[in-house]
Symmetry: C2
């Protein structure tokens, strides 16, 4: 069933979606998407529609049992996706934020680990009160977040498993197709490379007998090429490559660019990912660093600036 | 190296701890433990010391790579441990809550998934305000939680990996040894049965080549018998058995009771675990159900009542 060039075949895609457990609340998600895209693709008064970006964030899980007790998880705090969402909204994009449940949320990254217990206290009148040290972080989290949602510029859709992630991504991409080159995909989620097909999975908890546990995982179908070719062929697409070994990073990013026909691949190394990334395009490798003269500055600030500029060029190219 | 009766050997334990990555802030944890146990083991005015229970909660992770990108996780919300902690504190125990980062916290279980964004809003004076619908849940979370910590009745220690979990559990158990029969272990955490020894682990991210991924995990050493035999031999010990298949549940609970010399094993099935459990002892199987005539009642309420009563008997037995 595997194609010879390493790309996913139609049969593999069909088999993945056919065998996946059905998505809960598919209709609700479809309605939210339709409404969000209608709202933001309408002319904004100045004759041009708002651009829409789908930001994916956090890691997917791969269940090892149907009644899930054990699963394989991909580490990702979701910090990159959450921070980038803030900068996209600042740059007047509408953002569909497809995020792992429990991962970092836009406008919330300066909060402590357990904000409710660490940022609030009761006064004698039994009124809840924000601690002085947290007040700016709490204001940003509640106020800016609510403002973005209320204005219709931020739609949040959660996932946990790779099955949920790919099914919702497909729905988003197909509903963004009509936006043509005004759509962007910023695929920062850490998607599992391997999975256990639902039908091959143990129904019950795997028993720990006396021996070791041998597991065979198969390659998860890479949906990037399908997204580019079929789901939203006019959209501007950026994927991410994370490695812990800097020696193979750029080579792997380059391979992903060509194989999946991405417009750009953001290459990042685990330990330095909040300091700098390298944006790999067909003809250039562009290093992007955070402004080290500014305390608390983010690498996402110049990164999103660069991407918005390249997206503008992509739209201009498509129009001519 | 494996012993013939399926129990863990001294060499296996030594090898696990020797090869584990060193615990961060070991000294800080040791100091907190010492202070907490001193405070609570001092006579409470009425001549008797407070009993101390170690509640473990949430699932452990097993890293698949040393610079961890991928790991295997055990599903556990931590609801059981968090709720039980509240009832133990109500029953005048001091609780050492050894919990998985991000899992459910005591006094917080009625909160929505993202309390900061869902429970608060800004008023025009830019004062933060609790939404009416959440006010009781927020009051409980902040007030009761802070009260328990401030009174010195609740010490919270977080873990993520199985390496952190077992290292901290060992420290807790050894520091509770002097409490003799007044100490209790309530081991509700979902600990991985399998793991990859740190030294066998890939240093870098496992590459997704063209084939399937074959993995071999070895059995994690079961520390329960060591806890009973060496770390805290006088303590009252309760472990948990969760299965998705009710047919094998009681048999497995019984086996665990005998093999690890637990005083009790709480048997629970995945789908009904919030409605009822069965407490397995050497001579009885005691079903414990939540009070269905009371809306919002917990199975942990009668469960902790039963355990406190059995713990009293254990202390009396030891004293005579």
């Amino acid at each position: 069933m595997e194609s010879t060039n390493g790309l996913v075949t139609d049969a593999e895609i069909k088999s993945f979606f056919d065998s996946a457990p059905p998505l809960r609340d598919r209709v609700g998600i479809a309605n939210k998407l339709k409404e969000f895209i209608q709202l933001n693709s309408a002319s904004q008064g100045n004759g041009s529609a708002r651009r829409v970006v789908c930001v994916t964030s956090g890691g997917t899980t791969v269940p090892l049992e149907q009644r899930c007790v054990r699963y394989i998880d991909n580490f990702s705090s979701g910090h990159r996706g959450a921070t980038s969402t803030e900068y996209f909204i600042k740059a007047e994009y509408a953002v569909i934020f497809l995020y792992r449940r429990g991962s970092c949320q836009p406008y919330c990254r300066s909060l402590p680990e357990d904000p409710l217990l660490e940022c609030f206290e009761f006064t004698n009148g039994s009124n809840v009160q924000v601690r002085q040290s947290c007040s700016e972080a709490v204001r940003r989290a509640i106020n800016d977040h609510h403002a973005a949602v209320a204005a219709g510029h931020l739609l949040k859709l959660p996932f946990t498993t790779i099955f949920e992630y790919l099914q919702i991504l497909q729905m988003i991409a197909i509903s963004m197709r009509n936006l043509g080159p005004h759509a962007m995909f910023y695929l920062a989620a850490a998607v599992s490379d391997f999975y256990v097909p639902w039908k091959d999975m143990a129904e019950h908890k795997i028993q720990s007998a006396s021996g070791p546990l041998d597991m065979r995982l198969v390659q998860a179908p890479k949906m990037l090429s399908v997204l580019r070719k079929e789901w939203a062929p006019m959209a501007f697409c950026i994927s991410f490559k994370l490695e812990t070994d800097s020696k193979i990073l750029l080579e792997k990013a380059d391979m992903a660019l060509k194989k999946y026909k991405m417009h750009m691949v953001v290459a990042n190394e685990l330990v330095t990912r909040n300091e700098e990334v390298i944006v790999v395009t067909a003809d250039k490798k562009i290093p992007v660093c955070r402004d080290k003269t500014q305390p608390g500055s983010d690498v996402e600030n110049p990164l999103i600036e660069l991407l918005v500029e390249k997206h503008s060029a992509h739209i201009k190219d498509a129009d001519t």
